[in-house]
Symmetry: C2
Subunit: 345 residues, 2 copies
Amino acid sequence: MTTETTTRVVTRQAGPQYDVDELYEGVLKANTLHLARAITLIESQRHEHRELADQLLTKLLPHTGKSLRIGLSGVPGAGKSTFTEAFGTYVTGEKHRIAVLAIDPSSPKTKGSILGDKTRMEHLATNPDAYIRPTPSGCTLGGVARRTREAMLICEAAGYDIILVETVGVGQSEIAVAQMTDVFVLVLVPGGGDELQGIKKGIVELADVLVVNKADGDLERAADRAKGSYQNALQLLYPSTSKWIPPVLKVSSVENRGIDTVWETLVDFKDVKQEDGQFEKRRMAQARDWMWSEVGDNLMEALRAHPAVNAMIGELEGEVAHSRATPSAAAKAMMEAFVKGSYRP
Amino acid sequence: MTTETTTRVVTRQAGPQYDVDELYEGVLKANTLHLARAITLIESQRHEHRELADQLLTKLLPHTGKSLRIGLSGVPGAGKSTFTEAFGTYVTGEKHRIAVLAIDPSSPKTKGSILGDKTRMEHLATNPDAYIRPTPSGCTLGGVARRTREAMLICEAAGYDIILVETVGVGQSEIAVAQMTDVFVLVLVPGGGDELQGIKKGIVELADVLVVNKADGDLERAADRAKGSYQNALQLLYPSTSKWIPPVLKVSSVENRGIDTVWETLVDFKDVKQEDGQFEKRRMAQARDWMWSEVGDNLMEALRAHPAVNAMIGELEGEVAHSRATPSAAAKAMMEAFVKGSYRP
C-alpha cells in the first residue's frame, strides 16, 4: 500500500505587512486600529519599515499640528497617572480628544512602562475619545524621542486635539519632552513643610505650569503653604519683563478639584504665546531643531560605527579623562580615522 | 654714469613664527611674553598654527589642572569688572595667581570686548600675579569656547592657580562657561524691591554661588532684602538631599566688603565636591564631553560645507518649518547628499 501525502507550502513574508494608503485613510478617519498600526510601523527599527513610515508621515503632514501639545513630568509618587486620568476625563467631557504618549528610555523592553500603563488609568483607557500609548522602546533617548514625535503627528492627523507627552524624568528626557511640546507641566507633591517633593535641579526652570497634586486630606494645608512659597520664589526667579511667570496650581486628582483651572491655565498660556507669535515661532524652531538634531545623531552614529573609530573610542576617552591627551587632539584623531586621513580642520 | 643698485631680497615667511619648545619652556617659567604668544598661537585660525598649538598643548598637559576654575556671569551694570578687580586683588594678596579670561562671541573683532578690558580693571592689569586676556574673536560659540579652554590650560601650566572665565551672558555662553569650570558665580544687583536685576531664565539654575553686588549706600537695604528672599527661593528649588544649595552673598566691590567671604565660599564648595569625588568626576566628564562636542562640531561643519548639502539647507529648513516635509525626511536627504547616496539609516 502506498500513502500519498501532499505538503502545502506556506510562504510567509518576513514580518507584518503595511499598506501606506490604507493606513493613511484609516488614520484620517480616526480608526483606532489603523492608528495603532501606524504607530507600530513608525516604531519599527527595520529599514524597509522606516521607508514606509516616512512615506506615511509625509502624506499625513498637512493634517497635523492642530492640537495643543502638553509635556508632563513628575517623579514616581507625584500621582501623574491619577492626574492624567482626571485631566483626560475632564477635557474629553469638554468635547476634546486626547492622546497620551510617553517617553521612558529606561523602560526595559519586557517589563513594559509605568507610563502609559492603562491599568493605572482605567477610565481613560476605555474612554472612546482618549488614546493611550506606552513609550516606544529604544536604546537612545534620541531614537525614543523621534518615535514619540512621529506618533504625535499621527495622533494629530487622526483628530486628537490634545496630546499629552509624559515622562518620569530620567536623564534628559524632560528636556526632550519640552522640545516637542508647546507647554510643560510639572506635577509635584507637598513635602510636609513649605517644600515640594520631587524637585530636580533644573526641572522647575523648564516648567510653564506647576501643579501641586494631592492637595487633599492631611496634605491640603501643606499644599497651600507650598503653593504660596513657590509662587513667591518663581516671581523672583523670572525676569520682571516676563509675559508669563509659571503659576502654581493646587489640584486634588482623586477629589477632582482644580482640574478645570489647569485646563484654563493651559488655554491662557496658548493665548499669551499666540498674541506675539511666539507659539508658531516655537513650533517652527522645534521642527528645524529636530531636523538638525537628527542630522547630528546620524552623523555621530555613522562615526561611532566606523570600525577604525570604534576601535579607538575607549582608549581616547580614557586618555582625555585622565589629561593624557587634549580633547581637540582626540577629536581630530577620530575625524581622521573617519574620513581616512583626508580631514582638514 | 651707471648706477648700480642691489636689491636685497628679503624672504619673509608668511605670518608670525612659533617655536613650540621655546613657548613650552617659557610658559612653564611663567614668562608672560611667552604665555601671551602661546595663547595667540592657539587662537590662530591657520591650519599650520593649529598643528603647532596641538603639539604645545599636548606637551603642557601634564602641568595643567592645578587650579580652581571659576565661571562668572552677570549682565552689564552688575559691576562684574569691579567685582573681578576686587576679587583678583584679594586672592593675589593671599598669595594666589589669577588669570582672567573671557567668552564673548558677540564681540566685534575691531571694537574689542567689554570683558578683559584692562582699563576697567586698572589695578589688576598692573598686578604681577594677575593675567588678563580679552575674549578670543570667533564666529561660533564652539570655536570661542575651545580657544578659551585651551588658554585656560596654558595659564594653569604657567602656574596660575585661579582661573576666572567671564561672560556677559549672550546666547548660550553661560552654559559654555559652566561646562569648562568647577564652580559658577552669578553676579546680580538689587532691583529696589525684593528682586534682583539681571535674572535671565535658566541662569539662576546654573549658579553655584550668587553674589549680590553693590550692597552699599542706597542699595544696601535692598541688597539685604534680596539676599533673604533669594535664599528662601533657592532653598525651595533645590532637592532637599542636595549637598550644596547656592548661597547668596552680599558684596560691595567698591567698599571691598564681602570679597573674602566669596573666596571662602568657593573654597568650601571645592571641599564639599572633593569629599565625594564629584570634583574630579566633573572634570573628567567635562573633558570627555569637550571631545565629543568637538567631534560633533567637526562633523556638522564638514556636512554643512559639502556643496550638495549646502545647496539644500535653506530650502529644507523652510520645508520643515512650514510642515511641508518631516524633519526626519529632511535629515535623511542631507545625509544622503553627504555620503552620496550610500547612507543607510
